[in-house]
Amino acid sequence: MNKRIWIILVLVVAMLAPLGAIQAQDQQVVTITWWSTERGRDTAATRDLHFQLARAFEAANPNIRVAISLFPSRAFNTRVATAIAGNEGPDVWTTYYAADIATQGFLEDLTPYMEASGLKPEEVWFPIGQQRTVYQGRYYGVPRDASAGFIAYNKDLFDAAGVPYPQPGWTVAEYRALAKQLTDREKDQYGVGAIVGGEGCMLWSPFSFNLGTDVVSPDGRQVVGYFDTPAAAEAWRFCLELVTEDQVAAPAELQDQYGELVFLSGKVAMQSISNWEIPALMEQATFEWGVVEPPRYDENSEGIAWTDAYAHYMWSGSRHKEAAWEFLKWLSGPEAQRMAAEAGVWPPNGPQIWQELGWDKDPILGVAYAELMKETRVANYLRSQYFWDCVYPAFDNVRVRWIQNGERDLEAILAEEAAKAQFCLDDSYGE
């Protein structure tokens, strides 16, 4: 009797065996793993580009193979972290969060590699690329791309209202006045895009920077003392009052139908957008439109650009660090950058390719180029995954409390939400 049970058990184990991943180690050729997200305007094009890049790199480096895994963007960072925890992390991965998780010890410090291969960030990358992946003076990643935020405006709506288009050097006060002028609720027409979700006022970064504030400390670890300052309150009030006082923001329902780019509905005069939305506008807009730099605080202040970059990182536990570095260097270098630009998937990370393609002279892309060359800051949402976990909900909470619950003690709201977010940040960073 016992024997039979053992036979069954053995059979069961045998049946399960093929389930486990079998990893064959090839001695001659090194295989590195590359994890990235499919996020992009065109999933298929983004997917294809990943494979084209990997194949082109392999052609140039015959002893390195790249195994690609593409994931949905949601929870991507968790996936990377859990894989690393299981000692199965990717050699190279691509995401948006910043290097402040370097303290957790799973990001490889790339500074020595960069010095060894003579890569000089200030010569090849836009300012955002030089700041984005730096933590305590060390580089932990290389920029995948570079994009900028600016304002898109609907020329048809401006013309119909007989209002001149916004010009570079305009101010937040002018922005607000234009929004009021162009709102006509009878005609279902609104001055600015919808302010909903955590994004509502968070993507206000170009404004908050220009309004002289930031909601997080430069290292991304402190919200109390940033989120709740008088300057932040002013920026907050500016954003929230567009909805409640001025009533110039598009209704939230419009977003259900058109998605975040409600500008495409043709019912919105101005919306804060970035490079990523340009192809969609080019293809789908049924009206004339233009773009302009984000408004400045007043005539006397310099505008601060709002720029953005994804980055490629290396796992400190990688078993093929040299090969992984070769790949990172190549990905951030001109050949890969040119391929991505020509595929129309990612805007290049440095001025060279932009100039090569004549984008710096383009009436639309030229605005982005000018922003990318300006003084910039790392936008608050780029700072870390913990920003999404902790501070993003605070943005939504302030919005809900002000707009939906009708609370008006902004300072108290900000203080409370900042405290909660701070608790979460402290806990996440392990302080």
Binding site: I5, S73, R74, R79, A83
Partner: protein, 288 residues
């Protein structure tokens, strides 16, 4: 019926029954509508174009009907792959449960050993403790074993049985007369023979339940695949569907088409196994 007749003396028995039937059916129909309307809404949205989806007032019957939404779902996400993965997981889990649950249930139902009752109580009490307290250590255990992003964490536990199913099958086995075992032992059978040749065939209806419950559990499971699986090629239907929600902002028609596709297999199974399933759940209800 006799109980009610005193209540409506003037209607007479037949009239009363007709009245009762009409009101009974009305209530039944109204309730059915309440339960079915969200499902109908899901189906109709699944067959709409984006414009139809956002029409005000809504189109109750989409015209024209967009059948190709379903094929679009397969193009947008590897839904076929999700299906295969989930069926595979369900299959392995079912095999695991069939082996482990029957063995354990037999042990508890038909064999005597010291501590049996205590162990059985311990097993039942695990039903009362939320398994989520084990979630974090289990995850750590599997991650240290390098089993993240494999199917091991989603299959291995099935081979150790499930307390609820063991309970169910054990109750069923208890109802089989012991004379059968005695007779077999007299004929020289050993315990495994009795288990394999006598008890197991008689337990078949309960095994049906094991299969159905396991399938539905695996098909519905969301938290575990969410935690353990990284590679989209390994995703289950539920997990894939949730990512579909994240990836597409406003394609409610496709999202609903995906939801329809996700509910078809359990529904089919449900229709075939209705009797056992509802009967089995009643058993569950009786143990209180």
């Amino acid at each position: 019926m006799t109980t009610i007749s005193g209540h409506f003396p003037r209607l007479g028995l037949r009239g009363l029954r007709r009245f009762n039937n009409v009101s009974g059916y009305t209530v039944l129909m109204v309730l059915a509508a309440v339960f079915m309307v969200p499902l109908y809404w899901m189906f109709s949205t699944a067959l709409k174009s984006p414009q139809q989806t956002f029409a005000i007032p809504p189109e109750w019957i989409p015209a024209p009907v967009q059948w190709d939404n379903f094929s679009k779902v397969f193009q947008e996400v590897p839904f076929g792959r999700f299906y295969l993965n989930t069926f595979f997981l369900a299959f392995v889990n079912i095999v695991g449960h069939l082996i482990s649950v029957t063995l354990v249930a037999y042990g508890f139902a038909r064999l005597r050993f010291p501590g049996r009752n205590i162990l059985f109580l311990v097993m039942l009490s695990t039903l009362m403790i939320p398994y989520h307290v084990t979630l974090v250590p289990r995850f750590i255990m599997f991650s240290k074993l390098g089993m993240i992003n494999t199917y091991w964490p989603l299959t291995l536990p099935a081979f150790t049985g499930s307390p609820f199913l063991i309970f169910l099958v054990r109750q069923y086995m208890m109802s089989i007369p012991f004379d059968l075992d005695e007779a077999a032992y007299i004929d020289g059978a050993n315990r495994f023979d009795v288990f394999w040749r006598i008890i197991l065939p008689l337990t078949r209806p309960a095994l049906m339940l094991v299969i159905v419950f396991t399938f539905i559990d695996v098909w519905n499971d969301f938290l575990q695949p969410l935690i353990y699986l990284n590679d989209p090629d390994m995703f289950t239907v539920s997990l894939g569907l949730s990512f579909f929600q994240g990836a597409r902002e406003t394609n409610w028609n496709l999202l609903m088409a995906g939801s329809v596709l996700a509910m078809i297999p359990p529904l089919i199974l449900f229709f075939f196994a209705q009797k056992q399933l509802i009967g089995g759940i009643s058993v569950e209800g009786l143990k209180g």
